[in-house]
Amino acid sequence: MPDAPALLSTTSIAKSYGPVVALRSVDFTVRPGETHALLGANGAGKSTLVKILAGVQSADSGQVFVNGQPVDFPAPLDAMTAGIATVFQDPALIPHLTVSENLRLSSIAPAKFVEWLGWFDLADLDLNALVQELPLDTLRMVDLARAVARDPQVLLLDEITAALTADQAERVFALLAYWKGLGRSAVLITHRLAEVMRVCDRATILRDGRNVALIETASVNERQLVEAMLGAPVKPVAQESRETGNAGQGQNALEARGLTSRHLVQDVSFAVKSGEILGVVALEGQGQERLFELLSGERQPSAGEILVGGKSRHFRSPYDAVRDGVVLVPGDRLLALLPSLPVRENLAVPIFNHIRRWLGIPQDEPQRVAKAIDRLSIDTRAASQVRRLSGGNQQKVVIGRWLVAGFRTLLCFDPTRGIDIQTKREIYALLRELAANGAAILLYTSELAEIPLVCDRVIVIHAGRVVDEQAAATATESSLLTAAHGLEVAV
């Protein structure tokens, strides 16, 4: 294939954030009329490259070219003017304004925009609705339609299908095919390799801030893509052996009986024993968030009860739950971090959760904190401010808070979301170790493949109800997924 002239390209782009190097040197080329995937593990530098191409940040060195001309984007508007329209993971829409007011701000004619919305079956969307009243999936498609309506040369789509249903994703792919037919280009940043194989012509793979491979997708399979991303043959995630012998022998540490909260959680009953990891499987938005809120004392159930150690408890706030040894690692780790404080103070916060301990700091606090840092092998090089830590280290800090303070039941909501494989393994190993030492753990994870490797038992939630329970040893990804859709699992 002869080299077509590049529509968008970069040479030796580098970018550092203080001591952290995000991009070392990236050469990246998009041809006219191609759909190009940008792949890489977490921390490979994908989002930094997108930010530079979109004019959100400027590179430390290197050059961006559009149609062969060197360009410089001091602000996002400059990138748009140059013909690059980006759809970010968080919709760039103003929550307090209506859709049409948002269009007005971007100087986009509503008629053209509505025409593109038709691709998503949203042509009758009420343009006078406030953005904050619309669901996330709608907003992502609104954002996409707005980007397309700018009539750019290149569309930059960051995890565009992440919050979408399968049906909605199909519609996006249809639009991309049409877009390609118009001779326009698109760059897809995604984790879903099936999409890459289906939609993209070529894939650039980033690793450790460099472009390590340029692959014609027609010539490889998914496994080869993953190997290129990791730079090593693929191994299963949590292959640590699990002592199934003693699991599930302990007392009921935490039990839910008929737990109900409006329509979100309906009559949910289960028990998790000391020494056991109980997995929770659910598709997006089946009430699992609310269930964890109920169990951690963030909200009160409208019916049903929570039992701790066999006794009925009423959690009015997280304070009550924590005092009963029921502690939460929330899905959004930023909720549980003190970003401008050091690692040590982050870890020590729960020590002071009773007014009795306000005066003074316990003698053994430094040792307890040091022990937790050690056990989690937290990288403390940037320890003066937790905001500077990597995502994986931040997540360790969130879990570490409870190692310092002590607990009996750990509620983990998707603790490995957006975390690199190494840290993922460490976290799963830690959870197993905690369970072996007698802790009860309730684990929700969005990565089904990992459930059989980490958990002892699994409950499946669909539409706010527990619809199935499986032994982790025999559960498979497909049996879980079937149940998660509310379907009977064929035995």
Binding site: A14, S16, P19, V21, D60, S61, S296, E298, S317, P318, Y319, A321, V322, R323, V327, L328, P330, L334, L335, A336, L337, L338, P339, S340, L341, E345, A348, V349, P350, I351, F352, N353, I355, R357, W358, L359, G360, I361, R381, R401, A405
Partner: protein
């Protein structure tokens, strides 16, 4: 890999490296800059009026700085939690009134009643902010209006009588010992300062104050009842305000409704100059002490220059702005 130099610093690496390292060092120790600014201002003041660099000269500044420093302590505590207290000077004035009124009953009773005023008003602020989630700016603004109205009315009714504070309070507020060298009020301020720094750095409560200002949700999820932290902070801020008011009353001897009002903005400014973030979670009282001293010396300089109220205000504003700007620029770099 952390040792590989960034590409941009490759040229002129040495000279840039040196300035950069100096800036990085100063960014890590911002109190050094404040100390430097303070020293320069003191020297400037001494240059304008040589008698300033005597015991008597410095004593005047310290006498002024003590109440300001204590009022700024209230702001520091609250700003660490992401709050602020616009009623602190009215609390000070009210406490001074009650203390003056109770002075015939002896200094101890009088001071106790004064502190009680601070405790009640501060706690009320705390309940409004922590339980009812009123914006601190609005809650304390309303409290300020309420107190002003109440005390204006009460001066003609239940607080009629003594508007003079007793001898002991006067001595503590305005007097000095060791051949009239060291003002008692500075000793009071020093003791309170040590107590506060200890509270903020060595107590669980202090940790929670910073944590609450940094991320309230994280603190709540850690099982802390955040409202307790907030209410106690506002209550303590009220008590400190009351103490400052009593000192002010002792310094002037008599009380009036404008007693502390000119200190409101400087109390916030002192904390800001001292490096406490108005958004919470960052700062400390040591910086605020320097901030209060800087503002007091600045005041003395402007008085010496005899430039008139107008220029004083302009210069005051410009310097507060310059210090805050410099501080922000420096700490953002690091």
């Amino acid at each position: 890999m952390s040792q590989s130099p960034a590409p941009t610093t490759a040229k002129n690496a040495k000279s840039i490296g040196l300035t950069f390292r100096l800036l990085a060092f100063l960014a890590a120790h911002p109190t050094l800059i404040l100390l430097g600014v303070l020293a320069i201002l003191v020297l400037v003041a001494g240059n304008i009026r040589p008698s300033y660099l005597t015991v008597a000269g410095l004593r005047t500044t310290l006498l002024q700085a003590a109440p300001l420093g204590i009022l700024a302590a209230s702001q520091t505590i609250l700003m660490l939690t992401g709050g602020i207290d616009l009623s602190v000077t009215m609390i000070a004035t009210g406490a001074a009134y009650v203390t003056a009124n109770q002075s015939p009953n002896g200094a101890a009773v009088a001071i106790l009643f004064g502190i009680l005023v601070g405790l009640v008003a501060g706690s009320a602020n705390g309940v409004g902010v922590a339980v009812f989630r009123v914006n601190p700016l609005i809650m304390t603004l309303a409290m300020s209006g309420i107190l002003l109205g109440l005390f204006t009315a009460w001066t003609q009714t239940i607080l009629q009588g003594s508007t003079q504070v007793g001898g002991l309070i006067k001595t503590v507020s305005a007097g000095a010992f060791w051949d009239n060298r060291i003002p008692y009020s500075v000793v009071v301020w020093a003791v309170l300062s040590l107590l506060l720094i200890w509270l903020l750095r060595r107590m669980g409560w202090g940790r929670l104050l910073y944590a609450t200002g940094d991320n309230e949700v994280a603190v709540r999820l850690a099982g802390v009842r955040v409202w307790q932290v907030r209410i106690s902070a506002y209550a303590l801020a009220g008590v400190l305000g009351a103490l400052a008011g009593i000192l002010l009353a002792g310094r002037t001897g008599a009380v009036d409704l404008q007693l502390a009002s000119t200190f409101l903005l400087p109390s916030v400014a002192a904390a800001v100059i001292g490096g406490t973030s108005i958004f919470g979670g960052v700062g400390g009282y040591a910086g605020t002490i320097l901030g209060a001293l800087i503002l007091s010396v600045l005041n003395s300089i402007l008085t010496f220059l005899n430039v008139g109220q107008a220029i004083q205000q302009v210069v005051y504003g410009l310097i507060v702005l310059a210090l805050a700007w410099g501080y922000a620029g420096l700490t953002r770099r690091g």
